[in-house]
Symmetry: C3
């Protein structure tokens, strides 16, 4: 794949500043990009590196373009334009169409045109695989699963019976969708499992990272709406609902029946207790514990940041008596006022 700088400009509606005939063959960072590579400048922190960039072209704002020593593609949102153009240079191998002789596809499964089922993949009874969808090596598509068009299931994924996934959605390797929710009733001295008869419904244009777990619903479905992006090792408990275009960073864990609104940003390793609601546009900072519903958009946090061990130990010890400290201050206030 090679393309001229001028053609790149056209594709994202950029104003070209400088020569447009250079040919671009790949992507680079502002520091590393060579004369045949495209790069971008979005974070002002990296601006000092612009003046010495040897890139074939730099996506940047008009204000930054003034200092650009090489062809600049001027756009209002350089990172967005970079995302769009980056796809031209993607290196993900193209899947071979058809069913590999070492795949196992049930007779009752329905495969649309252009489907690719790789070696070792197993597609079970009555599954429906949409046009141009790819199921990679050793993934398992359970009974009655419905996959839309252009879905990509990376290797070693497990989709349990009845799960549905919308068009253009990507599921990275090792993820498990539709395992039983953690529903148990205690009685007679032991746990009794509650049959999980709901399923999981994943929308279109969703991105699911590696080793994610999304449990099936107890009665109704667990739902991930269109455009949601989930990073690696995210966990969604049964009957969780994630609203359109929300983003959950690595290792976030959402307990059963909690509902996340639209356009939320959930940081890494955040934990939500069960049965909560988060309004639209709620941002949760990394490692925060959310134990109550949040009804207002905004940013929320709770984790304490690292300190050196000595300070941390001292302060943590004082924390154990924070309520007592509070009471001592109240007493002091009384005394001082009396005085």
């Amino acid at each position: 794949m090679t393309i001229t700088v001028a053609e790149l400009a056209k594709k994202v509606g950029a104003e070209l500043q400088g020569a447009g005939e250079g040919r671009i063959r790949g992507l680079g960072t502002l520091v590393s990009a060579q004369a045949d590579e495209l790069t971008f400048l979005a974070n002002p922190k990296y601006r000092p590196y612009l003046a010495t960039s040897q890139a074939g072209a730099v996506l940047c704002t008009a204000e930054m373009a003034a200092d650009c020593p090489v062809p600049a593609l001027v756009v209002p949102n350089p990172y967005l334009a970079f995302a769009q153009l980056s796809q031209l240079f993607a290196l993900t191998p193209i899947a071979t169409q058809g069913v590999h002789p070492r795949a196992v596809v049930a007779e009752s499964a329905q495969l649309e045109a252009g489907v690719s089922i790789a070696a070792g993949a197993v597609v079970e009874e009555r599954a429906i695989i949409g046009e141009n969808t790819v199921v990679m090596a050793n993934s398992v598509v359970g009974e009655g699963v419905v996959l839309g068009k252009n879905v990509r299931i990376y290797p070693n994924v497990t989709l349990y019976h009845g799960v549905s996934i919308g068009d253009n959605t990507i599921v990275h390797a090792g993820s498990v969708i539709g395992a039983d929710g953690f529903g148990f009733a205690f009685g007679e001295g032991h746990w009794h499992s509650v049959a999980q008869v709901g399923s999981v419904c994943i929308g279109a244009n969703v991105n699911i990272g590696a080793n994610v777990t999304i449990d099936r619903g107890a009665i109704e479905d667990t739902v991930v709406a269109d455009g949601v992006i989930l990073d690696d090792q995210v966990h969604l408990g049964h009957n969780v609902e994630v609203g359109e275009h929300s983003a959950l960073a690595g290792k976030a864990g959402i307990s059963g029946s909690s509902r996340i609104g639209r356009y939320c940003m959930i940081g890494g390793a955040v934990g939500l207790a069960g049965h909560l609601e988060l309004a639209d546009q709620v941002n949760i900072l990394g490692m925060t514990l959310v134990s109550k519903s949040i009804t207002k958009p905004g940013t929320y946090g709770s984790a304490l940041p690292a300190d050196n061990e000595r300070n941390w130990r001292r302060n943590a010890a004082r924390f154990r008596k924070l309520d007592e400290l509070y009471r001592r201050v109240v007493q002091l206030e009384k005394k001082v006022i009396e005085n």
Copy 2:
């Protein structure tokens, strides 16, 4: 599967209030259940929805039954009875008995009657698979593994050599049981691994969620006792012991050699340091760090709950000087008393 309301009542010893001849075909929520569906009312929070329920039958307590507009199945513990009856309506596909032609089973493996080994599953030398046990697609049963009766191994599970699993235990997809414990000695400028010659011993009636990891013991075994339930992405380090009927929620992580008692409840994303002991009936709230043994039953916590960013930043900044604040209060107390 259809069954009358009266027959359901009989199965759980419920007192039937109202007509018993209606036929039930599935499960629903109090709000969604139709005339052919069973539901339950356990959480008083949902009581307002009872009066308008259109369910075929509602499992509830005697006290709640007074307001029930449809047939009520009166029991002391409605959620427990629902768990028991829910299994009648479970939708988990029934596995085909026998060894799929695309499975790979070592000649020295021993398969009891009624076993199901699915496509792509690999059963290695000298493994023993008990009666009616199911090994689903692409799972790997290592050398010398022993599985009891009615065990269900979902797809893409890995059981390392020598692991043993008791009757009726379920292992959800992607879980890894018996990988080497994280045992390394530092010396000569690098890490030296310690051979992990113990194994993992899982009891009967255990539930293991998806993408769980349970490491094999260093010398002796890692042990999960009968009736334990583990949610998705739980991690048990080497030589951990979990006592009977304890429950670990999603993403809980237990460091090496720690021992959890019986009937404990470990919340989501809880972390236990290594070499600790938790007494029986200890409950740990979500995201808590447990760094010392706990000898008394009860409930314990440590994580701070979310606040808005502004408050959180201010309070977190003050926390860094909490010890100093304490000292200032002590000084004040001295001065005020002197006065």
Copy 3:
């Protein structure tokens, strides 16, 4: 495998105290070891058990050896010597050389001498598998992957296209290396993925636990240096770099572009924000949030330890007004000084 006590002493340069002709067949703990088992004493906490040990030999320091009732192997670092000798008794099954008839290996893949490719494993186009490397059942080695010599890939692992792994490295089951980094630009009301054209470069003598995820780089590579050890369920985001001989405990999560120095110790469930740098020899205690770079070697923490629910609730409530409490103390100080 059996070996005499004297031979064991020789292998680690230990001074033998007592008889050397006993034959050792396995490993035991100080308490459990029998006359044909080797054990060690490193932690002074276990010293009381030395006097009654029935082991065939005990690795210990000279100072401890005085109390040893059985043959002692005197070394300066007993745990290190135990690690070295433990490998003689390792029980990990030896892989059968060659390509299993049920493996799928692309014609363009290159397999060096002594390679073992197990049933259900899939090796894609142009992959290169070094001498004596083992790919276990149902693992997937993507296009153009390069594995060094004596690498061991446990079952159900996924290596994406282009990943490279150095000699003697071990990857435990269920791990995913090379999935796309979590790179998305927001615009026009939705997320646009940024093609991840970097790869993952894993050094030699690395240990990767089970269900680990290491994402491929956005432009340049994600890098794990020689001798690093990663426990189960660790997550490394795109473009993370981990320096030589650092150790990351279970469930640690490192956000994109963060760089960890050499000889660091990262505790369980620690979270690093993105774009940080950690100096060499930085130790982070379990469950700590690291949100700023750390430039000095030393030990750091942030998580609060468990307390009983009542105290925890009270103190956590006071924490929400810690800044206010601080201001009240400042007011008091002013008043008291005025007085």
